[in-house]
């Protein structure tokens, strides 16, 4: 019991320290964004690397999420007999909730973990110290372009993903459940999806901020060689997942208050 409590306490303290340093990182990133002095080529390079190359995994994930949501809503539809509801239920869930959060999770694994590993390797080979010695602010040079690229990519990918999710739902209706996709589409049209779409995009932007801040923070605070990089990547994905769901809750709550 005692080691368990001690471990819990230590973890709690570590977490609090981490929350503090994450906030500092977020603040410094925002400061580095103004005045806007981006390296445009670097930004485009990052956008391509981060956004375009994550497209396949996002499209596949979104299609499957659409399929799963349609299959799941069938359970309720069968109880009530309202086939028309299948589109509405799946559409709402995909646009406002599961689309952004699952795409965010996949994106964090693909991009966040990568950024943490990359920055971590730069730290242990003293390249980040060298930047500082050359009077180049690592936040402005390394973190700020990633921040913009990650947030922009995730919002755009979520737009694409939402579409794919809805298409996936239609495909599931048509091929797996023998419901005409037009019924699905009609169900989709019946509810006002614009609100859900917008809240989904707000979430995506927030998740992008979380992913960028957490991965930069873990990457830049690596200590202890190659193993430290492994630990940082691990810590990064875990904290990002937690951060994504906390942000998700806060945005959902705020949205329904308005």
């Amino acid at each position: 019991m005692k080691p368990l409590l001690a471990g819990f306490g230590r973890e709690l303290l570590d977490s609090l320290a981490r929350v503090g340093s994450l906030n500092v990182m977020f603040y410094r990133t925002l400061r580095a964004l103004f005045p806007p002095r981006y390296d445009r080529e670097e930004l485009f390079r990052q956008l391509h690397r981060i956004g375009v190359r994550s497209l396949p995994i996002v499209v596949l994930t979104a299609l499957l999420v659409g399929v799963i949501m349609v299959l799941q809503s069938m359970t309720y539809v069968r109880k009530t007999g309202a086939t028309g509801f299948v589109g509405a239920g799946a559409g709402l869930a995909v646009l406002s909730e599961l689309g952004p959060s699952l795409i965010g999770l996949m994106f964090s694994g693909r991009v966040g973990a990568n950024a943490a590993a990359e920055l971590g390797n730069m730290v242990i080979s003293e390249q980040v110290e060298a930047l500082r010695a050359l009077a180049i602010d690592p936040i402005r040079f390394l973190v700020a372009p990633r921040f913009i690229a990650i947030v922009t990519s995730l919002v755009l990918l979520t737009v694409v993903g939402d579409l794919c999710g809805l298409v996936g739902g239609a495909m599931a209706c048509h091929w797996l459940l023998d419901i005409d996709w037009r019924t699905y589409l009609a169900g989709l049209m019946e509810v006002d999806l614009l609100d859900d779409f917008v809240v989904g995009l707000c979430k995506a932007a927030a998740f992008g901020g979380v992913i960028s801040t957490v991965s930069s923070n873990y990457g830049l605070t690596v200590t202890g060689g190659a193993q430290g990089v492994g630990r940082a990547v691990n810590g990064c994905v875990v904290t990002t997942a937690l951060g994504i769901f906390i942000a998700d809750y806060v945005i959902t709550w705020v949205w329904f208050q308005i």
Binding site: D39, E41, S125, E126, Q127, E129, A130, R132, A133, L134, A135, I136, D137, F141
Partner: protein, 250 residues
Amino acid sequence: MTAAHPVARTVGLAKAFGAHQVLAGVTLELSEGRCTFVAGPSGTGKSVLVRHLVGLLKPDAGEVWYKDLRVDVLDEEALLGLRRRCVYVFQHPTLFDSMTVTENVALVVKYHKGVKAAAAEGLARAQLDRMGLSRLAESRPPELPAGEQKLVSLARALALEPETLILDEPTTGLDPYAAFEIDAHVRRLKELGVTLLVISHDLQSIRRLADEVVFLFDRKVRYEGGVDGFFHSADPVLDQFVHARVEGEI
């Protein structure tokens, strides 16, 4: 003995990493336009000492000054201004592997002179040309031998046109010819009036270039003065170091 204008100085500098006390009360002065060598056995905190001068480390006690600027209390943003004037070159080349040699140098130019990418590359090429390194322009750092990597990192630092340059073991681990080439560049900088601080235990370099020598031993400054005095000191520790004797305190 020290000239009227100390460019950089430390006063009573102390630094420990955990229980390991690296420096205890080190006072050091760099005179303008002079070439000062910091020597000492491995692990005596030479790198730790000079990293304080550009604020890469914060002292536990003591003060660090650069001209009229107190360095050890500056925040990261103010330090960027200092590091533009006083550049520290790492012992390891720390070049960016994913960029070519030109891009490595152009990065610094682009960042500090606010010029477009193409213009920055032009300036970077000119810098490489001045140092006789044009042949390396398109190579990537991992392909180059250690000596050339060090030359490139020197070129990258010089792209900032610093008034003070700190070199951390520039010739360690190089073959004699590559070391000679580095020393030639250092000599040229000296003639241009750049204030230099070189960490080295390369006795040949010290003979060739030094104006002053500071010898660190056991967390303190053991010797401070001219080159002749350094090589002909009666201090047994210095004698052991200079003549590479096995028995002694080191």
